[in-house]
């Protein structure tokens, strides 16, 4: 009961900024809204929609196919490929686009400065969402699929389309939605590649025209559309019941295929890996080592330490509050908390700078209020204890990134039968022990996965970090983006490479934990 109250209190604090943003819909229309409607709104809408659909489609192809092949078949280098396929997640889409632009600038035949280029640049580095989630689903059902197909004597293709895909649908749809949301919130990539989307439009209105109200109203309109899509997606998921994951999980021997087919599978899996990771990574590495002296500067190591600490703290807090929300929702499900969680999970589609301003506003007022009191009554200046510290930054991270952890923990809890909790309760076990000894171990995979994704996302995050960080605190992403946006991609390569390295280490560690321990690699 009281856990619920705590969750409710915390989540209301979190969603207030979002509601403040949405409330702009009730203001009179901004000065420039008619102008925007007349001239550019259609372009923004068309481009954003195309971008989201394109990214959804390509990540589905890349993530779905690689997840299926690596979980069902044996082919050369499979173990290595399985881990490496997640690595593109460590490369920020923006850096990816700039790197490719650098590589391709001498070949005019391939032009990525368009909508299709943006779709590719984003898809190649976000498909791991689909891959990670789909792989989990395929592994759970792999044995049954295999046995069924053996019995029925169906072809592999039919088995994939008729059995595996429908069973893995909820996981794949979640992955695809996350990818599409990331694409919608993207600013750097589309701006660099010259595609006018809702996100660039919001900035143009805010910064270029100085019209905050119109910008907020555009953001509201945009979020409403996103929210409708999210609701549709969640409703399709609700109809599908999860298979019991804890029962009968025996070691699955992957299907062996003839050499030439194995080779084809290897090539299929290498495509996203090559374009999403190897090419940009080695290009950056080349620039960092041979064209600049970035590694010789001490500063880079300090910044790396900053980034790592920030990402660790941020992701621990995010996973913890997500656990709090989802656990209290399990113990005592309420419609209100459920609705609030839905609102909070919209954060992933809100462009970073919009969140930055949305959280700065209330905390600045709060600080102002506190300082007034302390100055008037105690003659003491307490300073900006909320808006001037890491508090506001971590808060903003929570709003932006808890989507992933809330959703994967909700799914994780959904797979643990209530009878487990009830059995333990009937034994007289405290809720704390149930959480510690049963739920947390059983949630191992979603906990680690969400920690990993949030960690890497914070490492890559730019707009929130740059505006909300305290004085004299620089991070790898700020460094890399500043240099890259000032057309100094070679100087930016050092920091970019460190982001990738910092992402790779936890990815490998956690992959070993998730898959290695359970013999699933």
């Amino acid at each position: 009961m009281h856990l619920n109250r705590l969750s409710l209190f915390i989540i209301i604090v979190f969603v207030l900024p979002i509601f403040a943003l949405l409330s702009s819909a009730f203001f009179p229309y901004g000065d420039n809204l008619y102008h925007i409607y007349d001239t550019v709104l259609y372009d923004y809408f068309f481009n954003s929609l195309s971008l989201a659909i394109g990214v959804a489609f390509i990540t589905f192809l890349l993530g779905g196919s690689t997840a299926f092949l690596t979980s069902m078949y044996n082919f050369p280098l499979r173990r290595l490929i399985t881990v490496m396929l997640i690595l593109p997640l460590a490369i920020p889409p923006y850096i990816n686009a700039i790197t490719y632009s650098g590589i391709l600038e001498n070949y005019s035949a391939i032009d990525i400065h368009n909508l299709f280029g943006s779709v590719l640049m984003i898809s190649f580095v976000v498909y791991p969402y689909v891959y990670l989630l789909a792989r989990g689903a395929f592994i759970e059902q792999s044995r049954e699929i295999y046995e069924n197909s053996q019995v029925l004597g169906v072809t592999n293709a039919k088995m994939f389309f008729k059995v595996s895909l429908p069973l893995a649908r909820p996981a794949i749809i979640l992955g695809v939605t996350l990818s599409a949301m990331e694409a919608l919130a993207d600013y750097g990539t589309v701006e660099f590649l010259g595609v006018a989307t809702f996100t660039t439009g919001i900035f143009r209105t805010w910064i270029g025209m100085g019209d905050t109200i119109s910008a907020a109203q555009m953001a509201t309109f945009f979020l409403t559309i996103v929210f409708i899509f999210v609701l549709i997606e969640q409703n399709t998921r609700r109809k599908i019941k999860y298979a019991e994951s804890t029962k009968h999980r025996r070691k699955f021997n992957r299907i062996s295929v003839p050499k030439h087919i194995g080779f084809i599978f290897l090539i299929i899996c290498l495509i996203p890996l090559l374009f999403g990771f190897l090419i940009p990574f080695f290009q950056l590495l080349f620039w960092a080592f041979f064209k600049s002296d970035v590694f010789s500067k001490n500063e880079l190591w300090d910044i790396t330490f900053n980034s790592l600490s920030l990402a660790t703290i941020g992701s621990v807090i995010i996973v913890l509050i997500s656990l709090l929300f989802t656990y209290s929702q399990r113990l005592n499900p309420t419609l209100f908390l459920n609705r609030m969680l839905k609102v909070m999970t919209m954060g992933y589609a809100i462009p970073g700078p919009v969140i930055a301003i949305a959280v700065l506003v209330p905390f600045s007022y709060l600080d102002g209020f506190l300082n007034n009191i302390s100055n008037n009554y105690f003659n003491f200046d307490i300073g900006l204890i909320f808006s001037g510290t890491f508090f506001v930054l971590i808060f903003a991270y929570c709003l932006r990134f808890s989507t992933i952890s809330i959703r994967s923990l909700t799914d994780g809890f959904g797979k643990i039968n209530y009878s487990i909790d009830e059995t333990a309760r009937l034994m007289g076990i405290s809720e704390r022990k149930i959480l510690k000894s049963l739920h947390i171990p059983l949630l191992g995979t979603p906990l680690l996965t969400s920690f990993l994704i949030v960690f890497v996302d914070i490492m890559k995050e730019l707009p929130l970090t740059s505006v909300l960080r305290p004085f004299n605190f620089n991070t790898l992403s700020v460094k890399a983006f500043e240099l890259a946006s000032d057309e100094l991609i070679i100087d930016a390569s050092g920091a970019s490479i460190m982001i990738v390295f910092a992402g790779i280490i936890p990815i490998i560690f956690i992959m070993k934990n998730i898959y290695g321990k359970r013999n699933l690699l």
Binding site: E244, T246, K247, H248, R249, R250, N417, S419, I420, E422, T423, A424, R425, L426, M427, G428, I429, S430, S437, L438, P441, L442
Partner: protein, 350 residues
């Protein structure tokens, strides 16, 4: 006899999944080492009732007493964790991340290491599963998982043990022997227990006392024999066993006129002569006898190993069921001889 559990005038508003059915006027009690059973079709509310006993669902009227202590009323509910009631769920709810040993000792925090070890040892030996001590649940078969769930529930020495559809996910072949084992185990522990099931054979073979539930109400409580032979309503009669209903009329003081003939010495109960009545004829009321003059036509037949179950038509319109030893192999459409041996006359108003 000392009552371990007393449920009086209980009513429940809604089930957890919100489907909206309710339980009402529930009265049930259980003696010290009695095995009770809630029998009913799926969706009748029997599982909700069990969950209310466990303290997992609130009740809206009445009370539940355990050992004379009130554990549930509409206004106050003793938490499930303090009831000393254990439950075996339909899916067994073994903790998949813990070994069998850890599963069993999970609720035994107060014991020392050595006590725990011995407890596990003795419980596992009861079900002949000593070698699985360090296995994980997913490595066991369904029957083995069920036995572990059972001894885990018994490990905490509860006052009452609840079993929700314990045999429903088991193969038919092993079910019978398992039911016997479980009954023996429960009697050994002399623990009061309640089993929820939709299968009357399970109920008959394990329970001392059966409550038949339909649409949220207990229709009848009694022993297997009583339920089968003296069903209080047509639903109970139909649900607990095979049989057909034939029209009947009361004639005179104590005679019942049925298509199969007159039945004398019938206690007329509250029936009037003008009432249209129905008499229940179970397959065991009809005896097959090739020499009998009374003939019925074979409409269908089901092979049951040692015997056939024949579906018959008497006088072209009255359906009957009849068992016959399986060497009496008659063709469809053939007329065969039958005799009536109706010991318990179960009659309902139409």
């Amino acid at each position: 006899m000392n009552k371990r559990l007393v449920i009086s005038d209980l009513a429940m508003a809604y089930s957890r999944d919100g489907k909206g059915f309710s339980l009402k006027n529930i009265n049930f009690d259980l003696g010290d080492s009695e095995i009770g059973c809630f029998l009913g079709p799926s969706g009748c509310g029997k599982t909700s009732l069990l969950r209310a006993v466990a303290g997992l669902e609130p009740i809206s009227e009445g009370s539940i007493l355990s050992n004379g202590l009130c554990i549930s009323t509409a206004s106050s509910v003793l938490p499930a964790s303090k009831r000393k009631i254990a439950m075996v769920f339909q899916d067994y709810a073994l903790f998949p991340n813990l070994t069998i040993e850890k599963n069993i000792v999970f609720g035994l925090d107060k014991l020392t290491k050595e006590e725990k070890f011995n407890k596990v040892e003795s419980l596992l030996s009861l079900v002949n599963m000593e070698k699985y001590r360090n296995s994980y649940p997913h490595e066991l078969s369904g029957g083995e998982q069920q036995r572990v769930a059972l001894i885990r529930a018994l490990a905490t020495s509860p006052d009452i043990l609840l079993l929700d559809e314990p045999f429903s996910s088991l193969d038919v072949e092993i079910k019978e022997s398992l039911i016997k084992d479980v009954k023996e185990l429960l009697k050994n522990f002399s623990i009061a227990s309640i089993i929820v099931t939709h299968d009357q054979f399970e109920a008959f073979s394990i329970a001392d006392k059966i409550a038949v539930i339909n649409n949220g109400e207990i229709l009848q409580t009694g022993t297997a024999y009583e339920i089968y032979h003296e069903p209080s309503t047509k639903f109970v009669a139909d649900f607990v066993g095979l049989g057909t209903f034939l029209p009947a009329k009361l004639e005179g003081k104590d005679t019942l006129n049925t298509p199969l003939g007159l039945i004398k010495n019938f206690s007329r109960q509250n029936f009037k002569e003008s009432d249209d009545l129905e008499i229940l004829i179970r397959p065991d009321d009809i005896i097959h006898d090739d020499t009998s003059k009374m003939k019925a036509v074979v409409v269908d037949k089901h092979f049951r190993g040692a015997e056939f179950l024949y579906e018959l038509k008497y006088k072209q319109k009255f359906p009957l069921l009849c068992y016959a030893l399986s060497h009496h192999d008659h063709k469809l459409g053939e007329s065969i001889g039958i005799e009536v041996d109706c010991e318990h006359c179960v009659v309902f108003k139409k």
